[in-house]
Protein backbone atom coordinates (compact mmCIF):
# COMPACT_ATOMS: atom_id res chain seq x y z
CA UNK A 1 0.00 0.00 0.00
CA UNK A 2 1.22 3.42 -0.80
CA UNK A 3 -0.27 6.54 0.72
CA UNK A 4 -0.19 8.42 -2.56
CA UNK A 5 -3.68 9.73 -3.22
CA UNK A 6 -5.14 8.44 -6.47
CA UNK A 7 -8.03 9.96 -8.31
CA UNK A 8 -11.12 7.87 -8.85
CA UNK A 9 -11.78 6.95 -12.44
CA UNK A 10 -15.02 8.62 -13.46
CA UNK A 11 -16.77 7.46 -16.58
CA UNK A 12 -19.74 9.36 -17.90
CA UNK A 13 -22.25 7.36 -19.88
CA UNK A 14 -25.09 9.48 -21.16
CA UNK A 15 -28.09 7.54 -22.41
CA UNK A 16 -30.98 8.77 -24.51
CA UNK A 17 -33.93 6.52 -25.15
CA UNK A 18 -36.57 7.83 -27.54
CA UNK A 19 -40.10 6.46 -27.69
CA UNK A 20 -42.77 7.32 -30.22
CA UNK A 21 -46.18 6.26 -29.08
CA UNK A 22 -49.74 6.91 -30.13
CA UNK A 23 -52.52 6.99 -27.59
CA UNK A 24 -54.57 3.81 -27.53
CA UNK A 25 -58.00 4.11 -29.14
CA UNK A 26 -59.79 4.44 -25.78
CA UNK A 27 -57.43 7.18 -24.56
CA UNK A 28 -57.67 8.96 -27.88
CA UNK A 29 -61.44 9.25 -27.41
CA UNK A 30 -60.91 10.33 -23.78
CA UNK A 31 -58.51 13.05 -24.94
CA UNK A 32 -60.88 14.26 -27.67
CA UNK A 33 -63.66 14.46 -25.08
CA UNK A 34 -61.56 16.48 -22.64
CA UNK A 35 -60.87 19.15 -25.24
CA UNK A 36 -64.67 19.60 -25.42
CA UNK A 37 -65.13 19.59 -21.61
CA UNK A 38 -66.54 16.08 -21.70
CA UNK A 39 -65.16 13.38 -19.41
CA UNK A 40 -65.54 9.92 -20.91
CA UNK A 41 -65.20 6.64 -19.04
CA UNK A 42 -66.08 3.04 -19.79
CA UNK A 43 -68.71 0.94 -18.06
CA UNK A 44 -67.68 -2.70 -17.66
CA UNK A 45 -70.19 -4.88 -19.53
CA UNK A 46 -69.73 -7.52 -16.84
CA UNK A 47 -69.74 -5.78 -13.43
CA UNK A 48 -71.04 -2.33 -14.38
CA UNK A 49 -68.16 -0.46 -12.75
CA UNK A 50 -67.23 2.78 -14.49
CA UNK A 51 -63.54 3.51 -15.07
CA UNK A 52 -62.38 7.04 -15.87
CA UNK A 53 -60.47 7.07 -18.08
CA UNK A 54 -61.10 3.71 -19.66
CA UNK A 55 -58.21 1.28 -19.79
CA UNK A 56 -59.81 -0.58 -22.66
CA UNK A 57 -60.71 -3.41 -20.29
CA UNK A 58 -62.07 -3.95 -16.80
CA UNK A 59 -59.15 -4.88 -14.58
CA UNK A 60 -61.41 -6.70 -12.12
CA UNK A 61 -63.46 -8.80 -14.57
CA UNK A 62 -60.65 -8.98 -17.19
CA UNK A 63 -62.99 -8.31 -20.08
CA UNK A 64 -62.34 -5.78 -22.84
CA UNK A 65 -64.41 -2.60 -23.04
CA UNK A 66 -65.13 -0.98 -26.38
CA UNK A 67 -66.41 2.35 -27.60
CA UNK A 68 -69.94 0.98 -27.13
CA UNK A 69 -69.27 0.72 -23.38
CA UNK A 70 -68.12 4.33 -23.06
CA UNK A 71 -70.22 6.88 -21.19
CA UNK A 72 -69.85 10.49 -20.14
CA UNK A 73 -69.57 11.33 -16.46
CA UNK A 74 -70.10 14.75 -14.85
CA UNK A 75 -67.20 16.99 -13.86
CA UNK A 76 -68.28 16.95 -10.22
CA UNK A 77 -67.09 14.56 -7.57
CA UNK A 78 -65.69 13.85 -4.12
CA UNK A 79 -62.19 14.22 -2.69
CA UNK A 80 -61.48 10.67 -1.51
CA UNK A 81 -58.02 11.31 -0.11
CA UNK A 82 -55.14 13.73 -0.39
CA UNK A 83 -51.68 14.64 0.75
CA UNK A 84 -49.89 17.98 0.98
CA UNK A 85 -46.55 17.69 -0.76
CA UNK A 86 -43.65 19.84 0.42
CA UNK A 87 -41.53 19.99 -2.71
CA UNK A 88 -37.84 19.26 -2.70
CA UNK A 89 -35.71 20.30 -5.62
CA UNK A 90 -35.23 17.54 -8.19
CA UNK A 91 -34.98 17.51 -11.94
CA UNK A 92 -38.37 18.37 -13.40
CA UNK A 93 -39.92 19.66 -10.17
CA UNK A 94 -41.42 23.06 -10.91
CA UNK A 95 -43.20 23.62 -7.57
CA UNK A 96 -41.58 25.52 -4.75
CA UNK A 97 -44.45 25.78 -2.23
CA UNK A 98 -46.46 23.01 -0.53
CA UNK A 99 -49.17 21.76 -2.90
CA UNK A 100 -52.23 19.52 -2.78
CA UNK A 101 -52.14 16.07 -4.34
CA UNK A 102 -55.69 14.73 -4.14
CA UNK A 103 -57.67 11.81 -5.53
CA UNK A 104 -61.10 12.68 -6.88
CA UNK A 105 -63.94 10.25 -7.49
CA UNK A 106 -66.11 11.78 -10.19
CA UNK A 107 -69.85 11.25 -9.73
CA UNK A 108 -70.84 8.06 -11.46
CA UNK A 109 -67.28 6.73 -11.61
CA UNK A 110 -65.82 3.83 -9.64
CA UNK A 111 -62.21 4.81 -10.17
CA UNK A 112 -60.47 7.95 -8.97
CA UNK A 113 -58.39 10.51 -10.79
CA UNK A 114 -55.21 11.00 -8.82
CA UNK A 115 -52.77 13.85 -8.33
CA UNK A 116 -55.28 16.70 -8.56
CA UNK A 117 -55.07 20.17 -7.10
CA UNK A 118 -58.03 21.24 -4.96
CA UNK A 119 -58.72 24.96 -4.71
CA UNK A 120 -61.17 27.23 -2.95
CA UNK A 121 -60.20 26.08 0.53
CA UNK A 122 -57.04 26.64 2.64
CA UNK A 123 -54.82 23.57 2.65
CA UNK A 124 -55.29 23.28 6.42
CA UNK A 125 -59.05 22.88 5.96
CA UNK A 126 -58.97 20.33 3.14
CA UNK A 127 -60.65 17.03 4.05
CA UNK A 128 -61.73 13.81 2.42
CA UNK A 129 -65.39 13.85 1.49
CA UNK A 130 -65.40 17.43 0.22
CA UNK A 131 -67.46 17.93 -2.92
CA UNK A 132 -65.62 19.47 -5.86
CA UNK A 133 -66.18 20.57 -9.45
CA UNK A 134 -63.62 20.76 -12.25
CA UNK A 135 -62.31 24.20 -13.05
CA UNK A 136 -61.55 23.90 -16.77
CA UNK A 137 -58.63 25.71 -18.31
CA UNK A 138 -59.52 28.35 -20.91
CA UNK A 139 -60.11 26.60 -24.22
CA UNK A 140 -56.99 28.08 -25.83
CA UNK A 141 -54.77 26.77 -23.03
CA UNK A 142 -56.07 23.20 -23.10
CA UNK A 143 -53.72 20.51 -24.25
CA UNK A 144 -53.71 16.73 -24.11
CA UNK A 145 -50.11 16.52 -25.31
CA UNK A 146 -48.84 15.27 -21.95
CA UNK A 147 -51.20 12.31 -21.89
CA UNK A 148 -49.61 8.89 -22.11
CA UNK A 149 -50.73 5.29 -22.26
CA UNK A 150 -49.11 4.76 -18.87
CA UNK A 151 -51.82 6.41 -16.83
CA UNK A 152 -50.03 9.68 -16.15
CA UNK A 153 -51.38 13.12 -16.78
CA UNK A 154 -55.02 12.13 -17.11
CA UNK A 155 -56.78 15.50 -17.05
CA UNK A 156 -53.87 17.77 -16.13
CA UNK A 157 -53.69 19.53 -19.45
CA UNK A 158 -57.34 20.58 -19.45
CA UNK A 159 -58.41 20.91 -15.81
CA UNK A 160 -56.82 23.69 -13.77
CA UNK A 161 -57.95 22.27 -10.45
CA UNK A 162 -60.96 20.87 -8.66
CA UNK A 163 -62.74 23.67 -6.84
CA UNK A 164 -64.70 22.94 -3.67
CA UNK A 165 -68.40 23.60 -4.19
CA UNK A 166 -69.34 24.33 -0.55
CA UNK A 167 -71.99 21.61 -0.56
CA UNK A 168 -72.17 19.36 2.53
CA UNK A 169 -69.44 16.69 2.62
CA UNK A 170 -70.29 13.29 1.15
CA UNK A 171 -70.74 10.54 3.74
CA UNK A 172 -67.84 8.11 4.01
CA UNK A 173 -69.93 5.27 2.58
CA UNK A 174 -70.08 7.11 -0.75
CA UNK A 175 -66.36 6.84 -1.32
CA UNK A 176 -64.75 4.47 1.19
CA UNK A 177 -64.48 1.68 -1.39
CA UNK A 178 -63.04 4.05 -3.99
CA UNK A 179 -60.17 5.68 -2.19
CA UNK A 180 -57.35 5.09 -4.61
Amino acid sequence: MTDTAKEDLVMEHLVTLTYHERLTDNLNRFADGLLEERIIGAKCPSCGRVFVPSKGYCSLCVVPTTEADEIEVPDTGIVTGFTIVTPVAYYGQTKTEPFVYASVRLDGADSTIGGQDVTGVPQSELRAGMRVKAKWKPREERSVDGMTNRGWSGVDGVVESFEVTGEPDAPLDEYKDHLF
Binding site: M11, L17, T24, K55, G56, L60, N149
Partner: protein
Amino acid sequence: MPATDIAIVGYAQTPSLRDANPSEVQLLVPTVAAAIEMAGIGRREIGFTCAGSCDYLTGGPFAFVSNLEAAGAWPPISESHVEADGAWAMYEAWMRLQEGDIDTALAFGSGKSSPSNPSEVWAQQLDPYYLAPLAPDPISLAGIQARALLDSGKATERDFAQVVANSRHNAASNPNAQLKDAGASVDALLAEPYLRNPLRKHDCPPISDGAVAVVMARGDRARSLCERPAWIRGFDHRVEAHQPGVRDIRSSSSTALAARKAGYDGGPLDVVELSSTFSPQELILLESLGLAPDGPTKVNPSGGALAGNPIMAVGLVRIVEAAARIIDGSANRALAHATSGPLLQQNLVCLLEGE
Protein backbone atom coordinates in the same frame (compact mmCIF):
# COMPACT_ATOMS: atom_id res chain seq x y z
CA MET B 1 -43.10 -35.79 -8.27
CA PRO B 2 -41.32 -36.38 -11.58
CA ALA B 3 -40.39 -33.28 -13.51
CA THR B 4 -41.80 -34.80 -16.66
CA ASP B 5 -45.35 -34.96 -15.39
CA ILE B 6 -46.28 -31.44 -16.51
CA ALA B 7 -47.86 -30.52 -19.83
CA ILE B 8 -49.07 -27.58 -21.89
CA VAL B 9 -52.86 -27.79 -22.17
CA GLY B 10 -53.75 -24.34 -23.50
CA TYR B 11 -52.10 -21.56 -25.45
CA ALA B 12 -52.84 -18.44 -27.46
CA GLN B 13 -50.88 -15.75 -29.23
CA THR B 14 -51.53 -12.49 -31.04
CA PRO B 15 -50.32 -12.14 -34.60
CA SER B 16 -46.88 -10.57 -34.80
CA LEU B 17 -47.71 -6.93 -35.60
CA ARG B 18 -45.48 -4.18 -36.99
CA ASP B 19 -47.09 -1.34 -35.10
CA ALA B 20 -49.96 -2.35 -32.85
CA ASN B 21 -52.25 0.41 -31.62
CA PRO B 22 -53.41 -1.45 -28.50
CA SER B 23 -51.24 -1.16 -25.39
CA GLU B 24 -49.22 -4.15 -24.24
CA VAL B 25 -51.81 -5.07 -21.62
CA GLN B 26 -54.61 -4.63 -24.18
CA LEU B 27 -52.80 -7.18 -26.35
CA LEU B 28 -52.53 -9.50 -23.37
CA VAL B 29 -56.13 -9.37 -22.10
CA PRO B 30 -57.72 -11.40 -24.94
CA THR B 31 -54.61 -13.59 -25.36
CA VAL B 32 -54.49 -14.74 -21.75
CA ALA B 33 -58.26 -15.23 -21.80
CA ALA B 34 -58.02 -17.40 -24.93
CA ALA B 35 -55.27 -19.61 -23.46
CA ILE B 36 -57.32 -20.16 -20.30
CA GLU B 37 -60.41 -20.88 -22.37
CA MET B 38 -58.54 -23.45 -24.46
CA ALA B 39 -57.39 -25.13 -21.24
CA GLY B 40 -61.02 -25.23 -20.14
CA ILE B 41 -60.44 -24.06 -16.59
CA GLY B 42 -61.68 -21.10 -14.58
CA ARG B 43 -59.37 -18.15 -14.20
CA ARG B 44 -59.55 -18.37 -10.41
CA GLU B 45 -58.46 -22.02 -10.50
CA ILE B 46 -54.94 -21.15 -11.70
CA GLY B 47 -52.42 -21.97 -8.99
CA PHE B 48 -49.57 -19.74 -10.09
CA THR B 49 -49.00 -17.04 -12.69
CA CYS B 50 -45.72 -15.78 -14.11
CA ALA B 51 -45.24 -13.02 -16.68
CA GLY B 52 -42.25 -11.97 -18.78
CA SER B 53 -41.73 -8.50 -20.24
CA CYS B 54 -39.23 -5.64 -20.39
CA ASP B 55 -39.89 -2.15 -19.06
CA TYR B 56 -37.19 -0.74 -21.36
CA LEU B 57 -39.40 -1.70 -24.30
CA THR B 58 -42.53 -0.21 -22.82
CA GLY B 59 -40.64 2.88 -21.79
CA GLY B 60 -42.06 3.18 -18.30
CA PRO B 61 -40.90 2.00 -14.90
CA PHE B 62 -43.09 -0.74 -13.42
CA ALA B 63 -44.92 -1.18 -16.72
CA PHE B 64 -44.95 -4.90 -16.00
CA VAL B 65 -47.35 -4.33 -13.10
CA SER B 66 -50.24 -3.34 -15.34
CA ASN B 67 -49.58 -6.38 -17.56
CA LEU B 68 -50.62 -8.49 -14.60
CA GLU B 69 -54.14 -7.09 -14.94
CA ALA B 70 -54.53 -9.42 -17.93
CA ALA B 71 -54.41 -12.34 -15.49
CA GLY B 72 -56.99 -10.82 -13.17
CA ALA B 73 -55.07 -10.05 -10.00
CA TRP B 74 -57.95 -9.08 -7.74
CA PRO B 75 -58.58 -10.69 -5.28
CA PRO B 76 -54.81 -11.21 -5.02
CA ILE B 77 -53.25 -14.16 -6.80
CA SER B 78 -49.94 -15.99 -6.45
CA GLU B 79 -47.74 -14.54 -9.15
CA SER B 80 -44.28 -13.54 -10.24
CA HIS B 81 -42.56 -11.67 -13.06
CA VAL B 82 -39.33 -12.10 -14.93
CA GLU B 83 -37.64 -9.28 -16.82
CA ALA B 84 -37.11 -11.76 -19.63
CA ASP B 85 -38.86 -13.55 -22.46
CA GLY B 86 -42.07 -15.36 -21.55
CA ALA B 87 -40.19 -18.65 -22.02
CA TRP B 88 -38.37 -17.90 -18.77
CA ALA B 89 -41.71 -17.03 -17.13
CA MET B 90 -42.92 -20.45 -18.22
CA TYR B 91 -39.76 -22.00 -16.79
CA GLU B 92 -40.44 -20.40 -13.41
CA ALA B 93 -44.08 -21.53 -13.49
CA TRP B 94 -42.93 -25.07 -14.43
CA MET B 95 -40.56 -25.07 -11.45
CA ARG B 96 -43.36 -23.84 -9.21
CA LEU B 97 -45.67 -26.65 -10.41
CA GLN B 98 -43.11 -29.20 -9.30
CA GLU B 99 -43.73 -28.23 -5.69
CA GLY B 100 -46.76 -30.46 -6.11
CA ASP B 101 -49.26 -28.36 -4.15
CA ILE B 102 -50.91 -26.80 -7.22
CA ASP B 103 -51.87 -28.46 -10.48
CA THR B 104 -52.24 -25.58 -12.94
CA ALA B 105 -50.12 -22.55 -13.84
CA LEU B 106 -50.27 -19.71 -16.33
CA ALA B 107 -47.31 -18.05 -18.04
CA PHE B 108 -47.25 -15.24 -20.55
CA GLY B 109 -44.87 -12.96 -22.37
CA SER B 110 -45.45 -9.66 -24.13
CA GLY B 111 -43.63 -6.80 -25.73
CA LYS B 112 -44.06 -3.88 -28.07
CA SER B 113 -40.84 -3.03 -29.87
CA SER B 114 -42.50 -0.51 -32.18
CA PRO B 115 -42.49 2.59 -29.89
CA SER B 116 -38.76 2.48 -29.17
CA ASN B 117 -35.58 2.47 -31.19
CA PRO B 118 -34.07 -1.03 -30.88
CA SER B 119 -30.59 0.34 -31.56
CA GLU B 120 -30.86 2.52 -28.44
CA VAL B 121 -32.67 0.08 -26.19
CA TRP B 122 -30.61 -3.04 -26.90
CA ALA B 123 -27.31 -1.26 -26.45
CA GLN B 124 -28.35 -0.95 -22.78
CA GLN B 125 -28.05 -4.67 -22.16
CA LEU B 126 -24.33 -4.59 -22.91
CA ASP B 127 -21.72 -4.25 -20.19
CA PRO B 128 -21.57 -0.63 -19.01
CA TYR B 129 -17.77 -0.21 -19.17
CA TYR B 130 -16.53 -1.56 -22.47
CA LEU B 131 -19.43 -2.16 -24.84
CA ALA B 132 -22.44 -0.02 -23.91
CA PRO B 133 -20.50 3.27 -24.33
CA LEU B 134 -19.69 2.18 -27.89
CA ALA B 135 -23.45 1.64 -28.40
CA PRO B 136 -23.18 -1.15 -30.95
CA ASP B 137 -26.68 -1.75 -32.28
CA PRO B 138 -27.95 -5.35 -32.37
CA ILE B 139 -27.64 -5.58 -36.17
CA SER B 140 -23.97 -4.56 -36.08
CA LEU B 141 -23.26 -7.11 -33.36
CA ALA B 142 -25.05 -9.79 -35.37
CA GLY B 143 -23.00 -8.73 -38.38
CA ILE B 144 -19.79 -9.44 -36.45
CA GLN B 145 -21.17 -12.86 -35.56
CA ALA B 146 -22.16 -13.51 -39.18
CA ARG B 147 -18.70 -12.49 -40.39
CA ALA B 148 -17.04 -14.79 -37.84
CA LEU B 149 -19.22 -17.65 -39.03
CA LEU B 150 -18.35 -17.00 -42.69
CA ASP B 151 -14.64 -16.73 -41.90
CA SER B 152 -14.77 -20.08 -40.09
CA GLY B 153 -15.92 -21.70 -43.32
CA LYS B 154 -18.95 -23.19 -41.57
CA ALA B 155 -21.46 -21.24 -43.65
CA THR B 156 -21.86 -19.07 -46.73
CA GLU B 157 -24.05 -16.09 -47.51
CA ARG B 158 -26.10 -18.48 -49.64
CA ASP B 159 -26.73 -20.56 -46.52
CA PHE B 160 -28.00 -17.41 -44.77
CA ALA B 161 -30.32 -16.69 -47.69
CA GLN B 162 -31.58 -20.28 -47.65
CA VAL B 163 -32.53 -19.87 -43.98
CA VAL B 164 -34.49 -16.73 -44.89
CA ALA B 165 -36.18 -18.38 -47.90
CA ASN B 166 -37.24 -21.32 -45.72
CA SER B 167 -38.60 -18.92 -43.11
CA ARG B 168 -40.61 -16.95 -45.67
CA HIS B 169 -41.99 -20.17 -47.23
CA ASN B 170 -42.97 -21.68 -43.87
CA ALA B 171 -44.48 -18.42 -42.63
CA ALA B 172 -46.79 -18.32 -45.65
CA SER B 173 -49.10 -20.79 -43.91
CA ASN B 174 -48.81 -19.18 -40.46
CA PRO B 175 -51.60 -16.66 -39.85
CA ASN B 176 -49.58 -15.10 -37.00
CA ALA B 177 -46.46 -14.45 -39.06
CA GLN B 178 -45.52 -10.92 -40.05
CA LEU B 179 -43.15 -11.55 -42.98
CA LYS B 180 -44.15 -14.26 -45.41
CA ASP B 181 -43.45 -15.03 -49.03
CA ALA B 182 -44.25 -18.39 -50.54
CA GLY B 183 -42.22 -17.41 -53.58
CA ALA B 184 -39.02 -16.26 -51.86
CA SER B 185 -35.93 -17.39 -53.79
CA VAL B 186 -32.35 -17.60 -52.61
CA ASP B 187 -31.01 -15.92 -55.75
CA ALA B 188 -33.40 -12.99 -55.41
CA LEU B 189 -32.50 -12.60 -51.73
CA LEU B 190 -28.78 -12.63 -52.53
CA ALA B 191 -29.31 -9.89 -55.12
CA GLU B 192 -30.43 -7.47 -52.41
CA PRO B 193 -27.97 -4.95 -50.94
CA TYR B 194 -26.23 -5.32 -47.60
CA LEU B 195 -27.62 -3.62 -44.54
CA ARG B 196 -24.57 -4.42 -42.38
CA ASN B 197 -22.18 -6.47 -44.46
CA PRO B 198 -22.52 -9.49 -44.57
CA LEU B 199 -26.12 -9.14 -43.38
CA ARG B 200 -28.92 -8.06 -45.66
CA LYS B 201 -32.16 -6.63 -44.35
CA HIS B 202 -33.91 -9.99 -44.67
CA ASP B 203 -31.23 -11.65 -42.51
CA CYS B 204 -32.51 -9.49 -39.64
CA PRO B 205 -35.76 -9.78 -37.70
CA PRO B 206 -38.70 -7.45 -38.24
CA ILE B 207 -39.75 -5.01 -35.52
CA SER B 208 -42.77 -6.63 -33.92
CA ASP B 209 -45.38 -6.22 -31.21
CA GLY B 210 -47.13 -9.21 -29.70
CA ALA B 211 -48.22 -11.33 -26.77
CA VAL B 212 -48.43 -15.04 -25.99
CA ALA B 213 -49.76 -17.17 -23.13
CA VAL B 214 -49.67 -20.82 -22.05
CA VAL B 215 -51.51 -22.83 -19.44
CA MET B 216 -49.75 -25.84 -17.90
CA ALA B 217 -51.22 -28.64 -15.82
CA ARG B 218 -49.84 -31.61 -13.91
CA GLY B 219 -50.45 -35.31 -14.43
CA ASP B 220 -54.03 -36.52 -14.65
CA ARG B 221 -55.31 -32.96 -14.47
CA ALA B 222 -53.54 -32.33 -17.78
CA ARG B 223 -55.03 -35.51 -19.28
CA SER B 224 -58.52 -34.47 -18.20
CA LEU B 225 -58.15 -30.98 -19.70
CA CYS B 226 -56.56 -31.86 -23.02
CA GLU B 227 -57.00 -34.86 -25.31
CA ARG B 228 -53.32 -34.88 -26.21
CA PRO B 229 -51.28 -32.65 -23.91
CA ALA B 230 -47.80 -31.50 -24.89
CA TRP B 231 -45.70 -33.07 -22.12
CA ILE B 232 -42.64 -31.14 -21.00
CA ARG B 233 -39.98 -33.86 -20.91
CA GLY B 234 -37.17 -31.50 -20.10
CA PHE B 235 -36.62 -27.78 -19.57
CA ASP B 236 -33.29 -26.10 -18.99
CA HIS B 237 -31.47 -22.83 -19.57
CA ARG B 238 -27.78 -22.03 -19.50
CA VAL B 239 -25.84 -18.81 -19.69
CA GLU B 240 -22.44 -17.91 -21.15
CA ALA B 241 -20.15 -14.96 -20.52
CA HIS B 242 -21.85 -11.61 -21.02
CA GLN B 243 -19.00 -10.13 -23.06
CA PRO B 244 -19.28 -11.53 -26.62
CA GLY B 245 -15.54 -11.00 -27.08
CA VAL B 246 -14.62 -13.74 -24.62
CA ARG B 247 -16.73 -16.51 -26.10
CA ASP B 248 -16.88 -18.38 -29.38
CA ILE B 249 -19.77 -16.60 -31.11
CA ARG B 250 -19.62 -19.08 -34.01
CA SER B 251 -21.16 -21.77 -31.84
CA SER B 252 -23.57 -21.98 -28.93
CA SER B 253 -22.20 -24.13 -26.14
CA SER B 254 -24.96 -23.02 -23.77
CA THR B 255 -27.63 -24.25 -26.20
CA ALA B 256 -25.88 -27.61 -26.50
CA LEU B 257 -25.63 -27.85 -22.70
CA ALA B 258 -29.23 -26.77 -22.09
CA ALA B 259 -30.44 -29.33 -24.63
CA ARG B 260 -28.44 -32.08 -22.95
CA LYS B 261 -29.66 -31.09 -19.50
CA ALA B 262 -33.22 -31.00 -20.83
CA GLY B 263 -32.77 -34.62 -21.82
CA TYR B 264 -32.27 -34.21 -25.52
CA ASP B 265 -30.13 -37.15 -26.51
CA GLY B 266 -29.83 -36.60 -30.23
CA GLY B 267 -32.82 -38.84 -30.89
CA PRO B 268 -35.37 -38.10 -33.58
CA LEU B 269 -37.22 -34.81 -33.47
CA ASP B 270 -40.24 -34.04 -35.62
CA VAL B 271 -40.05 -30.29 -35.11
CA VAL B 272 -37.57 -27.75 -33.83
CA GLU B 273 -38.57 -24.13 -33.21
CA LEU B 274 -35.61 -21.79 -32.74
CA SER B 275 -35.45 -18.16 -31.58
CA SER B 276 -32.87 -17.35 -34.21
CA THR B 277 -33.54 -13.68 -34.79
CA PHE B 278 -30.73 -13.37 -37.35
CA SER B 279 -30.37 -15.95 -40.11
CA PRO B 280 -26.79 -17.03 -39.23
CA GLN B 281 -27.96 -17.84 -35.70
CA GLU B 282 -30.25 -20.55 -37.05
CA LEU B 283 -27.22 -22.34 -38.49
CA ILE B 284 -25.30 -21.90 -35.22
CA LEU B 285 -28.18 -23.26 -33.16
CA LEU B 286 -28.81 -26.21 -35.47
CA GLU B 287 -25.16 -27.19 -35.29
CA SER B 288 -25.16 -26.91 -31.50
CA LEU B 289 -28.14 -29.29 -31.41
CA GLY B 290 -26.52 -31.68 -33.89
CA LEU B 291 -29.24 -31.09 -36.48
CA ALA B 292 -28.86 -30.57 -40.22
CA PRO B 293 -30.74 -27.67 -41.87
CA ASP B 294 -32.19 -30.07 -44.44
CA GLY B 295 -32.54 -33.18 -42.30
CA PRO B 296 -35.71 -35.06 -41.31
CA THR B 297 -36.54 -32.56 -38.53
CA LYS B 298 -38.81 -29.70 -39.61
CA VAL B 299 -36.98 -26.48 -38.74
CA ASN B 300 -39.15 -23.52 -37.73
CA PRO B 301 -42.35 -24.66 -39.47
CA SER B 302 -43.94 -21.44 -38.15
CA GLY B 303 -41.36 -19.33 -39.96
CA GLY B 304 -39.51 -18.70 -36.70
CA ALA B 305 -38.29 -15.41 -35.31
CA LEU B 306 -37.30 -14.06 -38.74
CA ALA B 307 -41.00 -14.07 -39.63
CA GLY B 308 -42.06 -12.23 -36.48
CA ASN B 309 -40.01 -11.06 -33.52
CA PRO B 310 -42.19 -9.76 -30.68
CA ILE B 311 -39.32 -9.45 -28.21
CA MET B 312 -40.19 -10.88 -24.76
CA ALA B 313 -42.87 -13.08 -26.40
CA VAL B 314 -40.90 -14.59 -29.30
CA GLY B 315 -39.26 -17.36 -27.25
CA LEU B 316 -42.50 -18.49 -25.67
CA VAL B 317 -44.10 -18.33 -29.11
CA ARG B 318 -41.53 -20.94 -30.20
CA ILE B 319 -42.66 -23.23 -27.35
CA VAL B 320 -46.31 -22.62 -28.23
CA GLU B 321 -45.66 -23.40 -31.91
CA ALA B 322 -43.93 -26.67 -30.94
CA ALA B 323 -46.66 -27.56 -28.42
CA ALA B 324 -49.39 -26.85 -30.98
CA ARG B 325 -47.94 -29.54 -33.25
CA ILE B 326 -47.85 -32.07 -30.42
CA ILE B 327 -51.41 -31.22 -29.36
CA ASP B 328 -52.78 -31.45 -32.92
CA GLY B 329 -51.04 -34.79 -33.42
CA SER B 330 -48.82 -33.73 -36.33
CA ALA B 331 -45.65 -34.17 -34.25
CA ASN B 332 -44.67 -36.49 -31.46
CA ARG B 333 -41.41 -35.00 -30.26
CA ALA B 334 -40.42 -31.36 -30.55
CA LEU B 335 -37.72 -29.07 -29.24
CA ALA B 336 -38.24 -25.33 -28.69
CA HIS B 337 -35.56 -22.76 -28.01
CA ALA B 338 -35.50 -19.25 -26.58
CA THR B 339 -32.62 -16.86 -26.20
CA SER B 340 -31.67 -13.78 -24.23
CA GLY B 341 -28.75 -11.37 -24.09
CA PRO B 342 -26.40 -10.25 -26.86
CA LEU B 343 -25.49 -12.80 -29.56
CA LEU B 344 -27.11 -15.90 -28.05
CA GLN B 345 -25.66 -15.31 -24.60
CA GLN B 346 -28.30 -17.25 -22.69
CA ASN B 347 -30.27 -20.12 -24.14
CA LEU B 348 -33.29 -22.10 -23.05
CA VAL B 349 -34.45 -25.46 -24.38
CA CYS B 350 -37.83 -27.06 -23.84
CA LEU B 351 -38.33 -30.67 -24.95
CA LEU B 352 -41.94 -31.63 -25.64
CA GLU B 353 -43.56 -34.99 -26.39
CA GLY B 354 -46.97 -36.45 -27.07
CA GLU B 355 -48.14 -39.47 -25.13
